[in-house]
Structure formats: C-alpha cells, structure tokens
Symmetry: C2
Subunit: 345 residues, 2 copies
C-alpha cells in the first residue's frame, strides 16, 4: 500500500521532510468524546482492547478528528504478561491489577513463553490489519510493546506504584530470576512485535515507562541488554525507544539499533542532542500539562518546544508523556496546528 503521508517514516530515517510529523502518545482513547462513546457501550477497557473492529475504530479517530500524522494501535502493554499467563485487570480509578505476582521461582513457574503469539495476541494483529485497511494509506500505523523492564515491574509489583520497590527488590535479592524473567519477556516481545510488523505496523515504539526508577548502572544491567535484543530483532521498520525518566541513560539508549529516541518533558533537548549527535531522530517532548493552558499559551509553548529542537529535521513531534485524560481536544488541535504550520527551513 502506498502511503499518502509518510512524513513520520522519513523523519525516523533521517530523510528530508517538508514539515515536522506530529502525533501524541495516548492519542487513541482518553480524551475524545467519540472514544468515550465507543467505550461506554462496553463492559470495560479490556473488551475494547480485545475487539479488533472497535480497537481499529478508536485507533483511527485521532487521525480523522485531530489530524495526526500517525495512528498508534489502541492496546495496552500489559497484553504481553497476560499472554504469558500473568493476566491483568484494569480497575476503574485504580489502574492495572494482577491477581498473581511473580516474586519467586515458585511463582515464576506459571510464566509461559512457548506459545504462538498469533494464538494469544491475534486480536492485536487483527486490529492492526483492520486499521491499515481502513486507513487506506492515509498515515502509517505504529505498533508497540512495553520494554521488558517495565513489564517486569508490573509482573512483580502486581499494580502501579510510585517506587516499584518490590520489583526493584528482586534485582537485589534474586537477580538471576530477574534476568530469566526479563529474557522470557524479551523473547515473547520480539515475536509479538514481529507479528505486529507482519500485520502492517510501519513503525514500532517500545515504552520503558518505569525506566526512571533505576539508576544508570542498574538500567544498563536490567534494561538495556533486553532493549538491545528487541532493537536488533526489528529490522523492517523504524524503532522508537522511549525510556521515561532515564535521562542519564539516553546516550546508551541512542547507541542501540533504533531510529528514534523518545524524550520526556523534563529532558533538555539541546543537551541530549549534544550528547548523542545527529544519528538518531528525537521524539517529543511538550509537557502534557502545557495543553491545559489557553490556546494562545498552547501555541507559545509548542513553538518554544520546537525551537528547543533547533532546525534539526530529525524530530518527530509528540508530548513528553501520554496526553492527560482531562485535556480539551481543541487544545490538542491547537498543538497539532501549530506544529503543522511551523516553518522548518
């Protein structure tokens, strides 16, 4: 299929672009009334994730309604531990919840790795295929997975946490088990991402949402080697590595076999560019809270952010974190409009 808008892929590859591509993490779901209309008819979040036609519908909504330059498949990083026999529930107001946690070798016995990802996660691939078909080349579809470290955090902790001290405890008490689980997650994730690419994902993003709770050395030990395996395994499409909060590890991340490095809103763009040079595209990094401002302020903050990246064409515009649920979609449109009208040359 010929893409009518391949801006984001060109930016990822360091090719010429006529303007900066823009999309938002969490653009599918959360903020759009049209999303909530679909969601309200269902039993819960997981029904939406597991119903390809509906997942495709909400994936395409921001392309139609907001004018973003890419669609990211509506799903959740926690489908991977679920496929590995560590299922989750999504509790209203509480977030993800696991009835089984994996903190010991005994508990790790339930973890399954030797399965066909199409069998257990076929609904994601089906949703990607439907999305690609319905988009009909308007914009590329981004597939994604959680980084092994972040998935381990949830498998061990069993729910969200500010410190993930149970997960970090494992790194000190049983690093062997931690590495074994990380390798298991990595193996499944590689098969899963390859299946997403086969289904039509034109770019892959790996979310290391809890990167920031590890110091540089532990990140190098417990996250980077697994990110490396993933980045090395996905060759057919550009790969984005987004390690939230891992500011001191950015140079090491940029060394991996990826196209794009995601930056959170706290990261100093000029400093990162100086550290890693021009061989990678940077993605980010407007503070999601900037979208709470007036339309005028949204435009001002967006332009300030764009300036911070200089005139370097290796930039995919995004927020520095997922868009927050109570943001006015009209403000998102102002953000996108501002990016699209920004003179690149």
């Amino acid at each position: 299929m010929i893409l009518q808008n391949d801006l984001i892929l060109r930016a990822a590859k360091g090719e010429d672009i006529e303007r900066y591509p823009v999309w938002l993490m969490r653009q599918a779901g959360r903020i759009l009334p049209e999303y909530r209309a679909v969601r309200s008819k269902l039993s819960g979040f997981k029904e939406l994730v597991e119903t390809p036609a509906l997942a495709a519908e909400v994936t395409i909504q921001p392309v139609d309604l907001l004018g973003v330059d890419a669609a990211i498949i509506f799903s959740d990083i926690l489908v991977v531990p679920e496929a590995m026999n560590v299922p989750y529930e999504m509790l209203e107001a509480k977030g993800p919840w696991f009835n089984h946690t994996i903190r010991s070798e005994e508990q790790a016995k339930r973890v399954e790795t030797d399965f066909d990802v199409e069998d257990r996660l076929g609904y994601v691939m089906e949703a990607i295929k439907l999305t690609v078909k319905e988009l009909n080349g308007r914009v590329p579809v981004i597939g994604f997975a959680g980084a092994p470290w972040t998935i381990l955090c949830y498998m061990v902790e069993g729910h969200g946490s500010k410190t993930f001290s149970e997960a970090r405890k494992l790194l000190y008490t049983n690093p062997t088990l931690a590495h074994q689980l990380l390798q298991d997650i990595t193996d499944v994730t590689i098969r899963y991402l390859k299946a997403q690419v086969k289904a039509g994902a034109a770019m892959i993003q790996v979310f290391d949402s809890w990167a920031g709770i590890l110091g540089t050395e532990q990140y190098a030990t417990f996250s980077l080697p697994y990110l490396k395996q993933i980045a090395d395994a996905i060759n057919d499409v550009p790969v984005t590595l987004f390690s939230k909060g891992a500011i001191t590890s950015i140079p090491a991340i940029a060394q991996l076999n990826c196209n794009n490095v995601g930056l959170d809103w706290n990261m100093d763009v000029a400093a990162v560019r100086a550290q890693i040079g021009d061989k990678r595209t940077l993605q980010g990094n407007l503070d999601p809270c900037a979208l709470y401002g007036s339309h005028e302020n949204v435009a001002t903050e967006t332009i300030k952010m764009l300036h911070s990246f200089g005139k370097n064409k290796r930039h995919i515009v995004n927020l520095g974190h997922g868009v927050y649920p109570d943001v006015d979609p009209e403000k998102v449109k102002t953000f996108i409009k501002t990016v699209k009208s920004y003179e690149i040359n």
Copy 2:
C-alpha cells in the same frame, strides 16, 4: 549543650572528619518494631505527630537502636499546609488526603499566612525541645520542612499522584496564583524553620520530594527562587536541600546558600561532584532497595556507594530516598556498621 557527636555538622561545614556520618531519611518510624509499638496505641499517625513526648520518643529510637549520627524529628511536611488552614488526613494505605484543594483564587481565600507558628505548630517545637533534652548531646537533631513546590503539589492536587498534573496545570493556567501560594508557603516555612532552630534543631533539611516532575526551566521558575529564600533565611545552622529527581537542576541547587545537597539513588555521584565542585557536602545515596539484599550484599552495595563518592570528606551518608517500611532493621544496622568501619583516609 556540648555535642558528643558532631560529625554530621562538621561534614556539613566541610571540616575534618574521622569517619563519614550516617543517618537515614524516614529512620524515625516505619521500620522499627519499637516504633510500631508506640504507634499501635494511638488513634493514628497525626496523634503521634502532635504529641511531643511520643514524637520525641520515636525520634530517639533510631539513635538508641540503630546507632545513627543524627536524629531527625518525627513529623510530616504536611503540618505546614495544615497550619495554613489546608488540613490533611493520613489515610491508611492511601496516604495523605486533603478535603480542601486550592486550585483557584476563590479557594485560595482560605489560605492563612498571618499566624504565629508557635501557636499552630508549637507541638513540633516542643517535640524538638524534648528530643534535645533527652538526647543530652549524644547526636544533633535535624529539623525539616517540605519545599514550597512540594507543598504546593499537595495543596493543589489534594493527595499523592504519579504526575501531579493538577498542580502542574496551575503553572500553565494561573502562574500568578501559583507564585502567590509559593510565596505564602515560603513565608510560613521560613518562620517555621527558624522556630525549629530556636527550639534546638542543629541542622535543617528541606525536602523537595516532587522536584522531579518539573523540567529544568519550570524548576528554575517555580521552585528555586523559593528554596533560595529559605536557604538565605536560615543562617545559624547547616541547611540540606534534597530535591528528589531534579538531576538537571542539581548545579543550580548547589549555587544556593546551602551546606549540603541531597542526592537520590539514581544520581551519578561522580558526575554531580564534577558539576558542582567541592564547595558543598553531598548527602546520599544508597538505593533503599539495596537493603533488601543479604547482609553481605548490603555491605557490598554500601561500600560501592561509598567508593562512588571518592575520598571526599564532604559526604554525609544516607539512602537516596526514605527507608522503605518493610526493610529489616538488621539490614539497616549492617548498612550503618559498614559506613562506620569504612576507612576514610
């Protein structure tokens, strides 16, 4: 009163020391069975905070039981907003909860600043006096307060949060109100800390627990100017500024009129030392999760951390975050013993 152990004060001032001083954030409370015995007889956390004799008792426990080189007064940073007529409750398993949040000028009308801190927070000063008297010079007492930015986070958000997006929203929607509240908190905090010093606190620590959710520029705008006022106002005793997660702001923090800069466990000690030079003492920064390891591993990790600080005598040993509640006190003793037997010269 002559101090028998003034190691921490000498380290803070850059004077000679024969070994590194050591204490733990959150050492008073949480981990000791002797603390839980006191706590279990009471209606709740706040009763303990507000009862000077008991607060003094649990403040002294880690000096007796763990052998730390300083006592930090058992209290909470949220006593300040409470004194300002924005009261909190401490809910089991949920953490702090405010029935009133301050997000608008209308809501800000309830905020009071023109009061005598002895009237509303006298119980803290009383607890400090009792602690100083009962310690009888064995170790110094550390007083503390939250940084204005962190207190604002709670006043606006009303409870803990991973993103504090309500608090950060205010910075974009009504920066004038944010600055007004920050100034109000600063004014009260300075009076409060001076009263703590008058009561006998020999060192002051300011906790900017939510520093890490602001980028460098916003931190410079909404936190540093208020930290500066506090650091400039407290002259009689050493001041420690601990801005958790504010890695890119450390050089600016070190420029303030403080003795010690606290480092969290993710901060690279050598990099920070290279940035800020030798004019400040660094405090930290063992990963609190390291205390989950075996005794042997605790010792190894502690020595590794000590090595990372080089042989620089401007070091006060601590964790990089408050000690976690389920840590075995025996492991804490191993940490402390390892520090005390570490050859400094």
